[in-house]
């Protein structure tokens, strides 16, 4: 059996000012899976928006997702088909920057293969509003080399942190 350190940080972006999106580019194809950990908040009044991503600059309607959530004591689910971006979780919006932050962990499987479509599974924790699990699909066989992350209804607030990790299988 092989062994070795396999969970590595590829890049981190910490916002020094509000931004409409952040991009990880020139992603090496040397890992098996990618993980994005997003910690932060949007810039509008208290609520939550959609944390969404595009791969390789593809703005075609090639994305879809399924959401399973709890919010306010209610369990819910919905789907998004034929979208121009991939919904990966809700993301906290909090206009008066404070300690409330949302957390999202996005797993992107087999991102460098050129045979299959790309599948994701992601967790979102959006206090005090909701917790979620989401599955996603990008209907492309292209290897993922760049990822753009944004929130649908607001710039991303100063201090938000986005880290891209690579996991390498034996």
């Amino acid at each position: 059996m092989a062994a070795g350190s396999t969970y590595e940080a590829i890049a981190t972006q910490t916002l020094a000012s509000t931004a409409n999106s952040i991009t990880f580019s020139s992603i090496p194809g040397t890992y098996t899976d990618l993980v994005i950990v997003a910690i932060g908040q949007g810039y509008t009044s208290p609520s939550y928006g959609n944390l969404q991503i595009q791969f390789n600059g593809d703005s075609g309607t090639n994305y879809s997702s399924t959401e399973f959530r709890e919010n306010g004591g209610t369990v819910g689910t919905n789907r998004r088909s034929t979208q121009s971006n991939l919904f990966v979780s809700s993301f906290l919006d909090w206009g008066t920057a404070n300690q409330n932050v949302g957390h999202s962990i996005i797993n992107i499987f087999n991102y460098a293969n050129t045979t299959t479509y790309k599948s994701t599974i992601s967790r979102g924790n959006i206090p005090p509003y909701r917790t979620e699990l989401n599955t996603g699909l990008w209907r492309s066989t292209a290897a993922i080399t760049s990822i753009n992350v944004s929130v649908n209804d607001t710039p991303i607030n100063i201090g938000s942190i986005f880290t891209l990790y690579g996991i390498k299988a034996a």
């Binding site: 059996m1 062994a3 070795g4 350190s5 396999t6 969970y7 940080a9 981190t12 972006q13 910490t14 020094a16 098996t32 899976d33 950990v37 910690i39 932060g40 908040q41 879809s64 997702s65 399924t66 959401e67 399973f68 369990v75 819910g76 689910t77 919905n78 789907r79 088909s81 206009g95 008066t96 920057a97 404070n98 300690q99 409330n100 932050v101 962990i105 797993n107 499987f109 087999n110 045979t115 299959t116 599948s119 994701t120 599974i121 699990l133 599955t135 996603g136 699909l137 209907r139 066989t141 607030n157 201090g159 938000s160 942190i161 880290t163 990790y165 996991i167 390498k168 299988a169 034996a170």
Partner: protein, 218 residues
């Protein structure tokens, strides 16, 4: 002017780019709170002490009905299995099943709750295997694979029954599923092997992969 912090390691190397901290008071552009730790308020994620690849199985063109990890070393604290799976079932999705250490007796339990866009079924059962995880079936178009992440906690501890948690599901642009699940093996034996199959014993398809990782606590 927002507060800017820079953190360094014990050796003096910079370990984080400048961090602006959120505050409990004031507006975006005014007061902010100074924390002694970068982890206060808006922590960054730090990977476990060790996250090592132990073994990976990738299915070839002929398919295979079972995937087994054997001789799993007991030197880690937890195990994680990450599965990217498709199978020969004619349905859109099939459950992945597994047994531990070859135990075929009725020593397993599982619970789940899921959302599929229209309903949110929940359930639990006991049996001689655990139904956790997803494999896409042929009713999905080609190139679509389901995903599953399993965490086997304290797998080598011989004083406890074993617990596994999982998140899994699939998405195909017409249908989808997102599932939280947990499982239980009523044995105090250390886990030394894991055998994965599908409900109905449909063969895993080409390009399916199961990757086993060991997570070591400090």
């Amino acid at each position: 002017m927002p507060l800017q912090l820079t953190f360094t390691s014990g050796s003096g190397d910079s370990i984080m780019s400048p961090v602006y901290k959120f505050s409990t008071a004031g507006s975006f552009a005014t007061a902010r709170t100074l924390y002694k730790s970068a982890l206060a308020g808006n922590s960054t994620f730090v990977p476990q002490t060790a996250f090592d690849s132990i073994a990976t199985v990738t299915v070839g063109s002929g398919g295979t009905s079972t995937i087994t990890f054997s001789s799993i070393p007991s030197t880690y604290t937890h195990l994680q299995v990450r599965a990217f799976a498709r199978c020969a079932s004619g349905s859109a999705i099939r459950n992945i099943t597994f047994q531990i250490n070859g135990d075929t007796a009725s020593n397993y339990y599982r619970h789940y709750m899921q959302g599929d866009g229209t309903s949110t079924p929940v359930g639990g059962d006991a049996g001689n295997l655990i139904y956790l995880g997803s494999a896409s079936g042929t009713a999905n178009g080609v190139s679509r694979f389901a995903t599953s992440i399993y965490d086997f906690l304290d797998y080598a501890d011989t004083n406890k029954f074993k617990t596994v948690r999982a998140i899994y599901g699939y998405e195909d642009n017409s249908n989808g599923q997102a599932v939280f699940g947990s499982g239980h093996w009523r044995s105090t034996s250390a886990i030394t092997s894991l055998t994965f199959s599908t409900e109905g014993s449909f063969a895993f398809s080409e390009y399916t992969s199961f990757a086993l990782y060991g997570i070591k606590a400090a």
